[in-house]
Amino acid sequence: MYNTRDRKKFVGKQDPDGAQIHSKFQYAHRLNFYDRPPLYDVTIEEFETCALDRLRVLAEIESSFARNRPWDELKTVTLAQCQKYVPLNNNTAITVDVDSQRRNDQLGHFVLRLAFCRSEELRRRFLKAETTLFRVRYDSDDRKERDGFLGSRSFDWIEVGDEEKNTYAKELQALEIKKPGEEYVREERYYKVRWTRVPDLVAKRKVLLRGGWAYVPSREQSSIIFQEFEANLARALEHTAKALPRMDEDTRLVPILNNLSQGFLAGVPSGWSSAPASGDEITAEMVDGIAKKHFPMCMRNLHESLMRDRHLKHFGRLQYGLFLKVLGLSIEEAVMFWRKAFSGLTDDKFNKEYKYNIRHSYGLEGKRANYPAKSCQQILLTDKPGPSDCHGCPYRHFAPENLQTSLLASYSSHGLTSTDLPEIMKTVKEGHYHVACTRVFEITHASKGVKKGEGVGGGESVTHPNQYTTRSRELEKSQEDAAMVVE
């Protein structure tokens, strides 16, 4: 696909002191403030892969916010995603190449910076997600390595001297968090910064304020660090945004960057593999039953429109046909399925006008490409449905009343009730369509033991209709298996 020899040099500000930290690693610390851009050659492929991997993690953080996940849960989900896509091990790890992990982490961050600096909205969301990722990693960092990291940069705080500590002893003691029964004996260290650098602590009255200075106890030091990370990155993003027009000259990068920046608007490109699992074939007769039990709203809608109207327009056939192919419908079964569905047509008309297209989508005609099924991102962003079309994403393209009616009609037999609707509609209104779909999955699979926040497994959101359906069928199968064991 991409020419791997086609190397792209990252041009960034040269590190002025050129200092190299003496360490057995090129990257001395697991945590990174991303002050220095990558100054090495990368292939276009690496460029894209690293960014995409990181985007998956950031997108999951975004949907955690949309779902109001508590911090601990967000942390668990995010760490699991990190482990999968952007792992970062401690210096003590011996079996992994720590340097290349850190290099990928740095590269992914900088590519996404380019992709997300281009509008105020994207900058804001990127900033929030990246700062959260940093917090999650900071919290999970080994104490010693974290101290090493903190020592490696200057945070511009003033350590409060004894004299001042005595002056404010009463106030500082009142702010101490004492465990029951614990005496005030610990000699807490305090750091003085302008209050504007720790707005969170100020808002919660957790620090002493005098003349615009905040006296931050060492246990709250992380607030300064997170704020510093955020402020740094905000500045850098604005800077990059101004410098970007020059970058746009590199035509190979522009489409990649455009693609990436859409990841936030419509969910990430699905990591779902389009190839049907072997031995998992389905027949034309099975489709209706599976549809009623396992389809997401978009496919439910296409299926029902087809059954009702005995017809589907072009983009609807495309979206649904490819979905069924990946679900395991063979070409022979597909022809049979569509022939039966289009029952108003003569054999002649069907063979002439539709059969070719079906075979084409299976890669048996024309340029014989193996077309993958459309992901949520593609459904949300391409081929917007016209007034008489049935394709698209119902969460995005249906009027709110119609969506609510359809949801109840399709899923009330799976446990969805009208009391669930306000929450779903709120998410829809905020534009988090995949979050709404994921929530419907959770509700309709509650009887299979799926809990709120678990998504389609491990907290993952819906990114592909086939992923939705396959997970739904897996859940049913594992329940049946379990039942058999009991019997």
Binding site: A174, L175, R210
Partner: protein, 414 residues
């Protein structure tokens, strides 16, 4: 010409803008220097016209330009917004990304309507010299916190013309606050929370702990005010529904039941007596220093705060791009001018004695010849208020000059 005090008709307003409104002083205050800077030229002004038409995104090069437009439009009032990255009047022609608010005074709005339930003299939109005491308390508490804790020095208080007060902080650090930082100030200063249905509106402690230190000075000021204002002057706990609210704030059913009996059988008991009843009951029931005793005395401290602490309109302060009525505008209902208030003498301020636009125009008529447009305020009772703003502005300008000199000094060469 015989004018009623409350007259704020278009003719009267036009005469006010032409002869009396201190455009130059307001310009200096917003601009921080004598020659126009972006603090003025990129600043949004919004006009409310007679027919409730609202015109946003106006901006002006000089105070004369502003005056000309104000006299041409003759608005019932005008508001001041943030300083943008471009001139607000060019908003339509610049890219939206190039048009964002960057600077703005930190502002607060306190309105007497939020004090219902803690005052008995008036309700809703009414205000009298007695309930001004609540505003005076708010000014003292907030002024001290802004100075001592946040380190601000250029704080202007302005009577809102009817039933409240506005606060404008012009320090450089305050001008540059992000919305997040503004929210943090509001968070730190907001103590009264929860709507009508929430009896206990002060929840600032962690468990049985003392008040956070940032509220110590406020608590001290308000404790001294509670007896004369709430217990004596307002006699807040006289009515049954009001003393019932008080009992709901006392977390001890044995004590509250006894007091409920006592107070319903003796409707003439004053608020002061009831407060003493409550204190005595606590001392009688528990040993000093016991956890129950601490819990109840903490509750008393919270009650004092709940009845006297400033009520902030948080939304006004949280966003850089919030508009706020300009000082020296006229309130259309009362005809009163929104004059600055000296925080060190806020107890002596009488809202009913504030100059009205009708009264000021009468003063000019009685004093004979108009001396030249725009400076006539000097011959009226508006003068001390304009002087107060000018003195305030001089302080800001001193600071700006100093920091400019410091910046220039570092690269000065012979």
């Amino acid at each position: 010409m015989s004018l009623a005090d409350t007259d704020a008709s278009p003719e009267v307003m036009l005469a006010f803008y032409r002869l009396l409104y201190p455009f130059k002083s307001v310009f200096n205050w917003l601009n921080h220097e004598h020659t126009p800077t972006k603090l003025f030229t990129h600043r949004e002004f919004a006009f409310t016209l007679q027919q409730d038409v609202y015109l946003r995104y106006n901006s002006f090069n000089t105070h004369d330009d502003l005056k000309k437009q104000v006299c041409a439009l003759n608005p019932t009032r005008f508001e001041i917004g943030p300083v943008y990255t471009a001139r607000p009047r060019d908003k339509k022609t610049v890219r939206s990304a190039a048009f964002t608010p960057i600077k703005r005074e930190l502002v607060f709005d306190i309105d007497m309507t939020d004090y219902d339930g803690t005052r008995t003299c008036c309700s809703a939109a009414d205000i009298c010299v007695r309930c001004w005491a609540f505003i005076a308390a708010a000014v003292k508490v907030l002024h001290t916190a802004l100075e001592d804790q946040f380190g601000f020095r250029h704080i202007l208080w302005v009577y809102s013309g009817r039933r409240g007060i506005h606060c404008w902080v012009s320090d450089e650090e305050a001008m540059e606050l992000t919305d997040d930082q503004r929210r943090a100030v509001v968070g730190a200063l907001t103590v009264i929370e929860g709507g009508k249905e929430m009896a206990k509106k002060v929840n600032v402690r962690l468990g049985n702990k003392g008040l956070p230190p940032s509220l110590w000075p406020a608590s001290e000021t308000l404790r001294l005010l509670f007896d004369p204002l709430i217990l004596r002057d307002q006699d807040v706990f006289a009515s049954e529904s009001n003393w019932e609210t008080l009992l709901q704030l006392v977390p001890d059913s044995t004590i509250t039941e006894k007091l409920r009996d006592k107070w319903s059988n003796d409707p003439a008991r004053t608020s002061s007596t009831k407060w003493s009843d409550l204190k005595r009951a606590i001392y009688k029931a528990y040993d000093e220093g016991s956890p129950e005793f601490i819990r109840l005395t903490n509750a008393l401290e919270d009650i004092v705060i709940q009845y006297t602490y400033p009520r902030l309109d948080a939304e006004v302060s949280k966003h850089r791009n919030h508009l706020l009525k300009a000082p020296f505008c006229v309130h259309p209902k009362t005809g009163r001018v929104c004059v600055p208030v000296d925080p060190s003498r806020v107890d002596d301020f009488d809202p009913s004695a504030v100059p009205t636009v009708g009264g000021l125009l009468r003063e000019i008529n009685e004093n004979g010849e108009s001396g030249g447009e725009g400076t006539d305020w000097a011959k009226t009772s508006l003068k001390p208020f304009v002087d107060m703003l000018d003195r305030h502005t001089a302080g800001i300008m001193d600071d700006v000059r100093r920091s400019k000199r410091a910046a220039a000094g570092s690269d000065l060469s012979w």
